[in-house]
Amino acid sequence: MDRGLILAIFSIISGWALILLSLLVIKVLILSTREGSFVYSLIEVGMGFLTLISFLFIWYRLLRYLFLRTKVGDSGPGGT
């Protein structure tokens, strides 16, 4: 098993964890807000999306960083 394949499997597991984490945050939001109001439902959906987008951003930056390290052997500033 080479580093490329390990990185590909990591991208799938981290993507899956990202989906579950976003849903967990939404569940916490649902439990902590009042039920029945349309405005509250809208806020819940909006915050759910914001959570997903921010997690997606962090996930992509991490994956890109690892990909570049594997591809060009870049160990970052100060690396050996």
């Binding site: 080479d2 580093r3 490329g4 394949l5 990185l7 590909a8 499997i9 991208s11 799938i12 597991i13 993507g15 899956w16 989906i19 579950l20 849903l23 967990l24 939404i26 569940k27 649902i30 959906v45 997606l56 992509y60 994956l63 890109r64 990909f67 570049l68 594997t70 591809k71 060009v72 870049d74």
Partner: protein, 328 residues
């Protein structure tokens, strides 16, 4: 009629129709010089393309035969009709390339057909949350899902046999999930899709003798979207299709938005002596093939097998998520 009999009938009909249409369409493509270069081979052979209509027509013809046998024939026909529209959009793109922004927009059209069937319930089953009530946001999400699934599957159609084999790997583990939802139409459509893809896979596997084109990949993506929407398993299909979505999303973000394939300045991979490896250029886009070949060059069939195994892994992960992490 018993579900098992309908499923068996679907698999036989799908195989039969697909084989007949392949045999009819391929000689016509060759005689009319509809041939494309296989750029990953050293001798760059010319291969008949697009064979997509053989797959989509077989699916539609089998659906028409099977529709009277299921509980909700309108929903089954709706899945076929919406997929057929996607195949038409793909065929248009094969003949005369559509713009990078107009194609995703056009791919939302099949969602309207599904909405018109009246068979969709805006209550998707979600991991951790259970059945959600998305009466307002479901419909725009459905349109987005059609375009995301279609484009992700399209972007995965890069190497010989990669698309059909990875779709098999990702969706076969979802059969028990669909069975649990009790939506027979979705199960019949999935079995039908896998059957019509099999004769295509035999001809598209390494070394490929046919290419499906966008008329095939967009059709498959839209069918998967239709199946997931009709069975409320959108989240589980998204997890199973993670290799496709990760690849498509990474490619789009790393090129800075929606860009037509021919308009990408730096290719994600380079080919040398039949070996594929990630483009060493730091600004080259990132895709699943580039990730897999980031540490060493690989042969085309080896990459295809690795993508298929990763897809099978995500399919099993999705199935386990449904049975272990989803309240019912």
């Amino acid at each position: 009629m018993h579900l098992a009999v309908i499923v068996l009938l679907a698999s036989i009909l799908g195989l039969l129709f697909s084989e007949i249409f392949h045999r009819r369409i391929i000689p016509r493509l060759i005689s009319r010089n509809y041939l494309s270069e296989d750029v990953h081979k050293p001798d760059r052979p010319r291969i008949p393309e697009p064979v997509g209509p053989a797959v989509s027509l077989a699916f539609i013809a089998s659906t028409i035969v099977l529709a009277p046998l299921v509980k909700d024939p309108i929903l089954l026909m709706g899945i076929a009709a919406s997929s057929g529209i996607s195949s038409m959009i793909g065929l248009l793109d094969d003949i005369s390339p559509l713009g990078a922004k107009s194609k995703p927009l056009l791919l939302t059209l099949p969602a309207f057909v599904m909405m018109a069937t009246g068979g969709l319930i805006p209550r998707p089953i979600l991991p951790i949350l259970g059945r959600a009530r998305l009466y307002y946001v479901y419909w725009p999400l459905l349109m987005a899902m059609y375009t995301v699934f279609s484009n992700s599957v399209n972007m995965m159609d890069a190497l010989n046999g990669m698309l059909p084999l990875s779709v098999f790997g990702a969706t076969i583990p979802l059969i028990p999930v669909i069975l649990m939802t009790g939506r027979d139409e979705a199960l019949v459509s999935l079995v039908l899709l896998l059957s019509v893809m099999f004769p295509y896979y035999l001809r598209n596997k390494y070394p490929a003798r046919v290419f499906g084109g966008d008329s095939n990949s967009l059709f498959i993506g839209a069918t998967l979207a239709g199946i997931s929407a009709s069975s409320n398993t959108e989240a589980f299909f998204s997890i199973a299709l993670l290799p496709f979505i990760v690849s498509g999303f990474s490619l789009i973000v790393s090129v800075g938005g929606l860009v037509e394939r021919r308009g990408i300045a730096k290719r994600p991979v380079v080919v040398k002596d039949g070996m594929i490896r990630a483009n060493p250029d730091r600004v080259a886009p990132m895709s699943m093939i580039a990730i897999l070949t980031s540490s060493k060059p690989k042969r085309e069939p080896d990459i295809v097998m690795e993508v298929a195994l990763i897809s099978l892994f995500s399919g099993i992960l999705s199935c386990l998520t449904f049975f272990l992490l989803t309240p019912r």
